[in-house]
Symmetry: C2
Subunit: 345 residues, 2 copies
DNA sequence: TCAAAAGTGTTATCCTTACACCCATGT
DNA sequence: ACATGGGTGTAAGGATAACACTTTTGA
């Protein structure tokens, strides 16, 4: 149908490139030097005692104890039946527990800043995953670390984090004054527009100067901090390679997802009180919907249904226990905790 | 900090696995047979004459003309500076035009159902991309194909597509009656719940039996059709490998994205009428917001601003021309065409 | 003159937000 | 008694959806 369009117009010069010759079956794709090792890395997240926790890799005896890492492994197609299956079996191997939700994040080509295992290749493919696990199953003995130890400026549950006011904001302002424009963040390239000025980027990412703090810009903020040389301020755990960025991506995706898919319930026991549900949502998102409106919202949308049971020792009046109402997924297009984003910064 | 947790508890048996030994630096990761060729595939989308079009690969002279393909290429780290750069230069090579928006979709490990180029390896990594391009620049001579030629049941602009009523629904109903349960869709595994019954899956994906048609479940629908053996009904173009699924993923992502990021403007000329904007949105989403409310919505949110210019020959009264108001991105957390999803099926 | 699209205005309804207030339990 | 969380009600405000109607062009 389109057989002869390729070389019929003025684009002929650009189009007689290698791939077109491949398409025409004239050359075999070179594969020898063009194969890459693939590394799967997971941010396994749970909520324990109202804290969002991420599973780290237990440090080997020969390693520096200052640098944490997410569980990761080389993907071997011969051993595994697909990427997801490999990821699952890998987490099972570490925790002895099964995984609920598993979602792929993004893939990057990492030039090896190889600390250990300085192999032959200088480049590998890194695929990040977000995984969710219930606290009940998540053995306490595993090396869980609070997500907000690694990304402390993301925790707004007790109001604006001090580290933002005390360290980050001044640092960023100083950086913004140094040079204007010429930036190159991911979103800028994506939207193909002229570069944003540094102050504008601060406004967009950190809500400075009257802007709003957007929950979901976790990655943008991390990137901007790294660019400004503030990557390591107030961070309890250094992380290996791009693992910190994978965690940021995971948190961003989780925050987005919790709003329109019922993924919170992957973090909760099958039976819970509405307050527990709220605390779990807040652990992920921050203190948005502080009021009892949360209850109406969540009951009104048919996301949960009451059980006959009651929990005592709540600190107050006994609470009705609820369960996730699976049927919503058949009823509504985007069933999730419909909480708005964007708060004053 | 966590140095000795790994082998301190009851999980010791599971945890003395290969990866832990790697972590401890005892074994080098094997790389020889565990490297994979990487293929980048893009769904380059534009809107021409109110039709969403996807760029295909011009067919080589030696190839079957019945099977279309998306532009794709082997990634060679030695030649390219990162995945995105490779993707961009690849599209530039075919079209001679630059690309606006580029976003990574998902990565899969494809067992080679190798039609051509039966190489040595039996498995490769496939990374999909969504790219957007303005119609003005998109040379007409290139082999654009309507997205709805490939996924015809997704086009609801003239009401419920006939193919749904005539072919797909009866086919699916017959399939649903054959066997119950035992399904294994992606979302099911993700949410870790018991399998949905076939009728429930039909209800969720295709809005049968009183359910709603969810715009964004493009991939679920394609998967379900394939599973039901209806993958090829009414399809104008067969596509190679997983390219059809990549297009479905791209359309799903674009539909989601258009609602909360100003990506529509990547498909429009810098200056446009509100009607053109609406037609473009409808080309992607379907006929949701049919009324003049669309104007209020889009003006009210500050997404566009009027220019002094006017377009005549619109078929009616001359229309004011608008431009995208870049500043919204600094003002609002999720600036996009805030159109609700979910219509009666 | 008519069709087609641009543009203005109004109203009903729903959803969110905020506030106020009572209930039941453990300490 | 009182602090803490559970639970109910209602009223104000904004956003959306639906409708009706006028204006301006090209054919």
């Amino acid at each position: 149908m389109h057989d002869d369009i390729g070389n019929s117009t003025g684009h002929g010069s650009q189009m007689s490139s290698r791939w077109e010759q491949e398409a025409a079956g004239r050359i075999e794709p070179r594969q020898s030097a063009d194969q890459l090792p693939v590394e799967l890395t997971a941010a396994v997240i749970t909520v324990q005692a109202d804290q969002p926790m991420v599973l780290t890799r237990p440090l080997g005896r020969g390693q520096l104890s200052g640098e944490a890492a997410l569980p990761s492994e080389h993907y071997r197609p011969s051993e595994h039946d697909g990427l997801e299956a490999a990821m699952r079996s890998r987490v099972v191997a570490q925790t002895g527990l099964t995984l609920g939700y598993l979602e792929q994040l993004s893939t990057a080509c990492d030039r090896d800043a190889g600390t250990s295992s300085a192999g032959a290749s200088d480049c590998h493919l890194s695929i990040g995953y977000l995984a969710l696990m219930r606290a009940e199953g998540a053995a306490k003995a595993l090396p869980w670390v609070s997500c907000y130890d690694i990304l402390p400026w993301e925790d707004w549950r007790s109001g604006r984090p001090e580290i933002l006011t005390d360290v980050i904001t001044p640092g960023l302002l100083a950086w913004a004054e140094k040079t204007e424009a010429c930036a190159s963040s991911a979103e800028q390239q994506q939207l193909g527009r002229s570069a944003l000025s540094r102050p504008d980027r601060l406004r967009m990412c950190f809500g400075l100067d009257g802007g709003r703090w957007d929950d979901e810009r976790v990655v943008d903020r991390l990137d901007l901090l790294e660019e400004a040389g503030l990557g390591q301020v107030g961070v309890g755990h250094r992380m290996r390679g791009d693992h910190r960025r994978i965690l940021a991506t995971a948190l961003a995706r989780l925050r987005a997802k919790i709003r329109n898919r019922p993924v919170v319930f992957e973090l909760l026991p099958p039976i819970f009180t509405l307050f527990e549900l709220q605390k779990t949502v807040e652990a992920i998102l921050g203190p948005h919907l502080h009021k009892q409106n949360f209850r109406r919202l969540v009951e009104g949308t048919g996301l949960v249904e009451p059980t006959d049971e009651v929990r005592t020792h709540t600190g107050g009046r006994p609470a009705k226990l609820f369960r996730f109402r699976r049927e919503v997924m058949l009823e509504r297009p985007a069933p999730g905790v419909g909480v708005k984003s964007g708060r004053a910064a």
